[in-house]
């Protein structure tokens, strides 16, 4: 028995998600990525399977599963379509997590049930890194109930029914909940390198009223809530990256067996075998870390450092594996005739959507030096 032993339930989840991705996603993954679209028929089926509300408690219509099960589903799902994996991470790890933990009974009843039934929640990425004096959060204007400004990156913005946004106040960060049809807000598509079907947008605000009724987390707890949600999201990002690495390996093996040079398949060359072995090592390493991180998160036992290590290893590994896969494909790897260039763009995106590798390493070091 290996270190990772899936329960019967988890094996069934993996098998059913695999069946879904092979039949429904794999054939269209490249096309929907090129068109930057979210096929509604796919979203409907995902909702019926309960993937949108995978971690939402059963009493709110969710599947009531944990981070470990989510990781298994994401890994399988992202082999075919990482963009849709990202949508599930944002819905489950960030939006549903924040609503479950901080929402009032009324908010939980309304918004969690909406997600369970197939609704999509958006999330305005908060960053306290200042660029030319600008942070990625709304800043209160003189009239402290009406807000104008812009959030540069909103995950799931393209199809979100509602959105959780960070608003900077004097004492911290407040998280507000805004419906898509609220007056004065405008979602603007953002052209991204990868994750192009994930519906990443920016969000413009023009005199939008944000009062106590829309407040999800007050300024005393905003930053802590964000950190906790981001920790969970980083497990999801790592699982997506793991799926991408597996996809890179599968594509590389298939191509290396088919492609002939100097009278034999290129998989017979030691250099190609060395690269394949490297990618496989990366997969096994990442999988152990992702499952360990998810397991610790579920048990709520000192998960912060391992989540960061898992994310760094898996996301970095996915970028590296995709580059290796492109190299094995030679010039073809650079074309859209093969999926490996998409794996690279998606891998680089997932590496950058969470905290930067530098910040993750800094946090690991900080914990080591306490």
């Amino acid at each position: 028995m290996g270190l990772i032993e899936m329960s019967s339930e988890q094996k069934l989840i993996k098998s059913e998600v695999k069946k879904f991705t092979n039949a429904e996603l794999e054939p269209i993954a490249s096309d929907i990525e090129k068109d930057c679209r979210l096929p509604s028929e796919i979203l409907k089926k995902l909702a019926q399977m309960g993937l949108f509300g995978l971690t939402i408690p059963e009493k709110y219509g969710g599947s009531g599963l944990d981070a470990s099960s989510l990781s298994i589903a994401l890994e399988e799902f992202s082999k075919s379509c990482a963009s849709l994996g990202l949508i599930l991470v944002v819905n489950n790890c960030i939006v549903a997590n924040l609503l479950t933990r901080y929402g009032s009974p009324q908010i939980k009843e309304e918004y969690l049930k909406r997600i369970s039934q197939g609704g999509i929640g958006g999330y305005g990425l908060y960053s306290d890194t200042e660029i030319a004096g600008k942070t990625n959060a709304l800043i209160a204007e003189k009239d402290n109930l009406h807000f104008s400004g812009r959030i540069d990156l909103v995950l799931n913005g393209g199809a979100a029914d509602f959105c959780i946004i960070p608003v900077k106040s004097e004492r911290g960060i407040v998280l507000h909940l805004v419906n898509r049809d609220a007056a004065g807000i405008n979602y603007v598509p953002v052209e991204t390198m990868g994750m192009r079907s994930a519906g990443i947008t920016s969000l413009e605000f023009q005199g939008v009223k944000l009062g106590t009724e829309s407040c999800l987390v007050g300024e005393d707890g905003g930053l802590e809530a964000i950190q906790r949600a981001h920790d969970f999201a980083h497990i999801g990002y790592a699982a997506i990256a793991l799926g991408l690495t597996e996809a890179s390996l599968e594509a590389s093996i298939k191509y290396a067996k088919e492609r002939r040079q100097f009278g034999r398949a290129i998989c017979e060359f030691p250099m190609i075998q060395d690269i394949l072995a490297e990618i496989k090592i990366c997969i096994e390493k990442s999988r152990l870390l992702v499952h360990d991180a998810a397991h610790r998160f579920d048990k709520e036992e000192g998960y912060g450092m391992i989540v960061r290590i898992a994310c760094l290893t898996s996301c970095g590994g996915a970028v590296s594996a995709a580059l290796k896969a492109i190299q094995i494909h030679g010039g073809y790897g650079y074309t859209k005739d093969y999926p490996v260039e998409r794996y690279f763009r998606d891998a680089k995106s997932i590496q950058l959507l969470g905290e930067s590798p530098v910040d993750l390493r800094a946090k690991i070091a900080k914990e080591l030096l306490v």
């Binding site: 019967s8 059913e16 309960g50 599947s63």
Partner: protein, 256 residues
């Protein structure tokens, strides 16, 4: 309605490299993934659709090793109410006839209005389980079923024939239907249903629960990859040499 669905767990070989093992009678399965036989998933869906329309209960039955319980749990998650695994490991070599007879022994005391099977299993393609079950249970059957409509205890069935023809039958219940792929769109199991199915009990039957062990009707002698035939001969040489050889071949084949 009381419905029974026969389900087989089979290796997914459509896009995999298939190699014959050392015994020469089986394939190497180590690196293959397994799933519900494709036609069986359509048979299950058809039963679920009937249950949703007319009520009742579905019992899923599989003759397989312990791993087949995973496949039965997917059936439970999709809409089956009960599941029975018959321990294949206790019955030695199986052919289509023996498989059907074992299943028949296992279900003969169950009340049923209809039994659904896939029209064939993708691993051995025997096409036998449905017809043998029906004949030995003494009920009518239809194979290659592409449509089922139920009205007042009469069933209208379409069968898919070669050449694009459809045969329309009227049958009475109870009956056995060997279902063709494409008859419906099989649903995916929801995660919450998988959670519940994972905790459900699966009844397991062994050799001792079967009155008498059925005999094989055929014995598997050998599995082999057919030799690749000589499909084309490239003629080389000068124009005279090539034309002379062409004339020779035509004469050899008796064409002139």
């Amino acid at each position: 309605m009381e419905l029974i669905v026969c389900i087989k767990r089979v290796p997914q070989t459509a896009e995999a490299e298939v190699k014959i093992d050392d015994s020469g009678k089986d394939i190497v399965k180590d690196r293959l993934t397994f799933d519900m036989n494709e036609a069986d998933s359509y048979a299950l869906e058809e039963a679920i659709l009937l249950k949703e329309k007319f009520g009742g209960a579905i019992t899923a039955v599989s003759l397989g090793t312990a791993e087949a319980e995973d496949t039965l749990r997917i059936a439970l998650a999709k809409g089956a109410d009960n599941a029975i695994r018959i321990k294949a490991e206790e019955f030695g070599e199986l052919d289509g006839y023996k498989t059907a007879m074992i299943i028949k022994e296992a279900i003969k005391d169950l009340k049923f209005d209809a039994i659904f099977t896939g029209c064939m299993a993708t691993d051995d393609s025997y096409y036998q389980v449905g017809p043998v079950l029906a004949e030995t249970l003494g009920v009518p059957h239809a194979t290659l079923v592409s449509k089922i409509e139920l009205t007042d205890k009469k069933v209208h069935v379409n069968r898919e024939l070669e050449g694009g023809l459809i045969e329309h039958l009227e049958m009475s219940l109870p009956a056995v239907f060997a279902v063709q792929t494409g008859i419906n769109e099989p649903r995916y199991a929801s995660l919450i249903a998988i959670r519940r199915a994972a905790a459900k009990e699966i009844k397991v039957l062994g050799k001792d629960d079967i009155a008498s062990e059925p005999k094989l009707n055929s014995t598997l002698e050998e599995l082999f990859v057919p030799p690749v035939g000589k499909r084309a001969e490239f003629l080389t040489g000068t124009a005279d040499e090539v034309s002379a050889r062409t004339a020779e071949i035509i004469k050899e084949k008796g064409l002139i």
